[in-house]
Structure formats: C-alpha cells, structure tokens
C-alpha cells in the first residue's frame, strides 16, 4: 500500500501561509514528518492556482524533494502549473503522479502531460455531468478514461483510478459503493488496474474526534478490497495497520477482548456498510 502524504494542502492555514511567503521551513518539516510516518509519496495540493501556479508548483516540488527523497503527487487543476512542476521533478526518487484527469473534456489535456513527462496519473471517475451514482457508473467512466489514456499514449499501468470518496455525513450510501468500485476497477485490466482514494474526505464534516476513527476503519475496508494507494494521513494509517487484526476479526464476526474497542469498531463498520444510519453521535448510541 502506497501512502501519499496529504498534509501539504493549501486548505491548511499554516501550509497556505508558507506557500504564499515561500517559506521552506514548514513545508519541509511537514514533508519530513510524513516521510518518517511512512508516506511513500508527498501530495502537493496548490488548489486551482490560477495566478502564479507554475512558479508555486515548481517551488513546492523542489522544496519537498530537497527535504525528502520521495516522488511528488502534483495536485492542481491548472495544467500549466502541472507541466511546470513536472519539468523540475526529480525522477531519481520515483516517478511523479498527476492528480488528476477525469472524464471532463477540460481535463483531457492533462493526459498529454502524463505521456510527455512519463508521469503516472490519477483518473478521477467523474464526468462533466456531476457525481457518479453508483459503482457501475464509476466503472463506466473508468473505462472511458482508460480508452482515452491509450489514445494519448499513457500506459494503463500508469493510471490510478480514483472512485471519489464522498462524505459519510451526507452521502452515506456511497461509502460502500466506493469499496465496490475499487473491486470493479481491478477487474478492468490484467494486470489489475491500480486504484487510489482521497481517504479523509470520508470523514469531512464529521466531529473532530470521529475523523481518525472513520478514516482508519474505512482504510482497512478499502485495503481489503485491494486498494493500491491512499492520499491520507500517514500517522493515522500506521495506527490503522496496528489495529488491522482487530478490525479484520470484527469483520469476520469474531469477538475481541476489549469491549470498548469492539463497540467502536462494530458501530463504525455498521455505519460504513450502511447497516445503521449515520449521525454525528453514532458512537454514543
């Protein structure tokens, strides 16, 4: 399992300020911490970056790779910024990953960049028409992205299909549909297609204390479904791996000794699987 460290995102205030001030300190500190926690790649999310995106992405890529010997996941909708970042990316530490193309015609040119710079690329299974309704629709969009990738000369092995994780607090039924899509994606090619998720979106909008719990258990379920990579908090995922046996035991219907943990796992898995209706206080019920 490849963990792509999620912490260098423009959404975080500290990161945003460091980006604007071109202050390497916080960026490198966070990159190093994520590497130590087990990240095999670092996500650099600069947002839409309409103004000065090219310079910012180049600065991010070089700043990160100065500190850690890892490849970077270049995360923006701005194609020019992506290209600028790819030009300076040091492939000695691994090939970069573009985040992302989709089935939206505006995102097609991004496939050209993947071919030109021999980069890996995330294919987000959404179209112009909005969110996919179920696993089947995600798979249908994935097929279109795969066909287009071949036209552009991007090998299928370089594509990570992303089923788009939605918030459990508002779109509970999609939690299971995403797991189903991860299974379906793998069957769409031989060798199986690679898959990735933006994991923590599952708990977006949930109370702070709940977020790591949902992230971790959902991660284990996705992992059991064959997930290849996750853009996630590496620290949380390391914890998840330590708890994996407990979670697998509960999934297999076994009882575990720690009653409180047993309740936490059971209730969370029930929410993820849609057996109980989500509410912010579901653990207290």
């Amino acid at each position: 399992m490849l963990i792509i460290g999620e912490k260098l995102s423009i959404i975080a205030k500290r990161v945003r300020e460091a980006m604007f001030k071109r202050d390497k300190g916080p960026i490198q500190e966070i990159a190093i911490r994520q590497w130590k926690e087990g990240s095999g790649m670092i996500d650099a999310n600069i947002g839409p970056a309409e103004d000065g995106g090219e310079d910012l992405m180049q600065w991010m890529v070089t700043t990160i790779q100065e500190a850690v010997h890892l490849p970077v996941c270049l995360d923006t909708t701005n194609a020019k910024a992506l290209e600028a970042g790819l030009q300076v990316h040091n492939n000695e530490w691994g090939r970069p990953l573009i985040n992302s193309t989709s089935n939206d015609p505006e995102r097609f040119p991004i496939l050209e960049l993947a071919a030109k710079y021999n980069s890996q690329i995330i294919g987000l299974t959404v179209g112009k028409g909005g969110l996919p309704a179920d696993a089947e629709e995600r798979a249908a969009i994935a097929a279109e992205i795969m066909a287009r990738a071949m036209e552009y000369g991007v090998p299928l092995e370089d594509i990570y299909l992303d089923p788009l994780v939605l918030q459990i607090a508002t779109s509970q039924d999609h939690a299971l549909k995403v797991i189903e899509a991860i299974k379906m994606f793998q069957e769409m090619n031989d060798p199986p297609m690679k898959t990735v998720v933006g994991l923590s979106n599952i708990s977006n909008g949930c109370p702070k204390a709940l977020r790591p719990i949902l992230n971790k258990y959902y991660f284990i379920m996705l992992m059991n479904a064959g997930l290849t990579a996750a853009i996630a908090d590496a620290h949380e995922m390391a914890e998840a791996m330590q708890e994996k046996k407990l979670i697998d035991d509960v999934l297999a219907g076994k009882k575990i000794d720690d009653a409180q943990k047993m309740a936490e796992i059971t209730k969370t898995l029930d929410v993820i699987m849609g057996k109980t209706l989500y509410a912010h206080s579901y653990l207290e019920m």
């Binding site: 508002t170 109980t276 209706l277 989500y278 509410a279 912010h280 206080s281 207290e284």
Partner: protein, 312 residues
C-alpha cells in the same frame, strides 16, 4: 397452486404517541410501511390537526382565509369553531404573532393565549412557536408551563434551541417536535441530542421539514421514506418517533394557491387549486410515512381523511 403475495417483515416499530387529556388523539404504533396493513399492524389512523394562529391570518391567501371569516379574529373562537363545527381531532396553535418581525408578542401574552384556548377546547392542542430560534426558546418555555399537565405537543425544537425547549417540555410533561432541515443524518442527530438530555424518545415527534408539491416535496418525501425505513428495517430507535408533516404553512404561501384566474386562466379555478394542492401534498407525505399532519383548509383535510379511509 394459489398465488401468495410476497410479504416483508420488519424488525422495528414506530412509537405510539397519545396527546391530550380529555379527548385524546393517538398516532403511530405501526410496524409496517405506510398503509401496508397486509404485512402487519397499523393500530391508528394518521391524525390531522387544524391550524389556527394567535393573530388574525392576514397573510393567508383568500381561499383559506375566508373559511375562517368571523372566527379568526380571536384564537379562542377560532379553536372552538375548528373543534365544534369542523370536528377537528386536534388543534395546532401557531404563535406567529410572537415573531420579532411581526407583532412581537411577549412570552407572557403567548402563555395567556394558550391558557384561554386550552380552557375552551377539549381536543388536544399543539403549540407552535414562530420559528425564530431565540424567540421560540423564550416563548415555548413560557407556554409549556402555561399548558402544564395538558399533554400537548410543543414545537419546534431545532439544533439552535433544543436544550431550553426540550427541558421545558420535559418538566411540564409534553410531547416535543424535533425539526431539522431536510437532512436525515441531522434529524437523527437532533433526536439523539434531545434524548441524551433525558427526554423520553417515545415522546418525540420528528419533523424532517415539510415542502409543498412543486417546491421540494420530493426531498421531504425521500427523507421521510428513509427515516421510516431506518426505523422499521434497521430497528433504529432514534428514528422510531412518528413524523409530522406541517403541510398547510408550506402550501398556502406558494403562488399556485394565490395566483388569480385572470392572470393564469390555464391553472383552473383558484378556489379549487389551493385545496387540491394541500390535499396532494398531504396525501403524498402520508405515503412517505407521516403519521401526523397540520393542515389549514377543511375541504383539504376532509379529502385527506377520505384518502386515509380508502387506504386503511
């Protein structure tokens, strides 16, 4: 071989709620989806409460205002008219005059109105605020005390004011409406928060927020349907209180119930249009799981009663 109709069995049951002290009304209690009497037990019909106000209905459209001409100037007369002439099973008194942007009546004035109405009727009373978060938390506390021991429904408790309102309803032994805004997860959360205060979940009524036909009815329908499915198929006790559809207020503010025939002749008779709209909205929400309705036009209420007769 004879045909056997497939039947679902459900693990959960909707709580039964009884209101009032003299003439009581009871709703809920079923262990099946709406009107699926072939699959289980539906002990009670849905209940329709007639809506009245603490101030004259100047903002109601003509079609429904004229029905109450001569009685709606005073809430006591209005309430008695609904009970004695229209045979209302329950009356919903909306204290819209307490809204700061309206007459801004005080909690004490509201309490007096409630006492006067309660003294004049023997059917159950539902006491509703003006849907202003801060004002409702003062008004609904005051009227809960004024109606102590009368087993009323107090409403509506929302995320922003449920603590004071639920505490008052609990202290004075009333039922309570918990309203959230068209979000099933927040609806469940509010019911949890209220019961965590010690409020008995079997005294709750869930209001997932109503919407009129053509104005988001399908959202209310879907949320109600999913609440009922969670209650019955997942035995989710937080979702087992009966549900309210506050139909009249939402229907009689839309243009279809008000636009004149000269402006829109293709829409048909104004006098029939509003009644039809309220009937269809109410009927649809009964199908999605509402056990308790608040309505305005007697002809619409009667049409819905007939609809219930045919489905029960």
């Amino acid at each position: 071989m004879a045909f056997t109709a497939p039947k679902e069995t459900y693990s959960g049951k909707v709580f039964e709620v009884a209101i009032g002290t003299d003439k009581t009304a009871v709703f809920g209690g079923e262990n099946v989806l709406p009107f699926h009497s072939f699959e289980g037990n539906i002990p009670h019909r849905p209940v329709i409460a007639y809506e009245i106000q603490d101030v004259p209905p100047d903002d109601w459209p003509e079609t429904v205002k004229k029905v109450y001409e001569g009685v709606s100037g005073d809430p006591v007369t209005w309430a008695k008219y609904c009970q004695d002439t229209l045979n209302a099973q329950a009356i919903a008194l909306r204290l819209v005059g307490t809204h700061p942007d309206r007459e801004n009546r005080s909690p004490e004035d509201a309490a007096k109105t409630v006492k006067d109405v309660l003294a004049a009727i023997n059917v159950p009373l539902i006491i509703l605020g003006s849907n202003q978060i801060e004002k409702d938390s003062a008004v609904l506390v005051s009227v809960s005390e004024a109606a102590k021991g009368k087993n009323c429904i107090i409403g509506k408790a929302q995320e922003g004011n449920y603590k004071t309102i639920a505490a008052a309803a609990m202290a004075n032994n009333h039922k309570l409406i918990a309203m959230s805004e068209l979000d099933i997860n927040l609806s469940k959360q509010l019911n949890i928060l209220i019961t965590q205060m010690g409020f008995d979940k079997e005294k709750l009524i869930t209001d997932p927020m109503c919407s009129a036909l053509g104005y988001g009815l399908e959202y209310t329908y879907s949320v109600m349907e999913r609440i009922r499915l969670a209650a019955l198929t997942q035995n989710d006790t937080t979702m087992q209180p009966p549900m309210l559809a506050d139909v009249g207020m939402y229907v009689w503010k839309i243009k279809e119930t008000q636009a004149s025939e000269s402006d829109l002749p293709q829409w048909g008779l104004l006098a029939e249009r509003g009644i039809a709209w309220e009937t269809i909205t109410a009927g649809s929400l009964l199908m999605s799981g509402a056990e308790f309705l608040i309505m305005r036009h007697p002809e619409a209420a009667k049409a819905v009663e007939k609809f219930i007769d045919e489905l029960m």
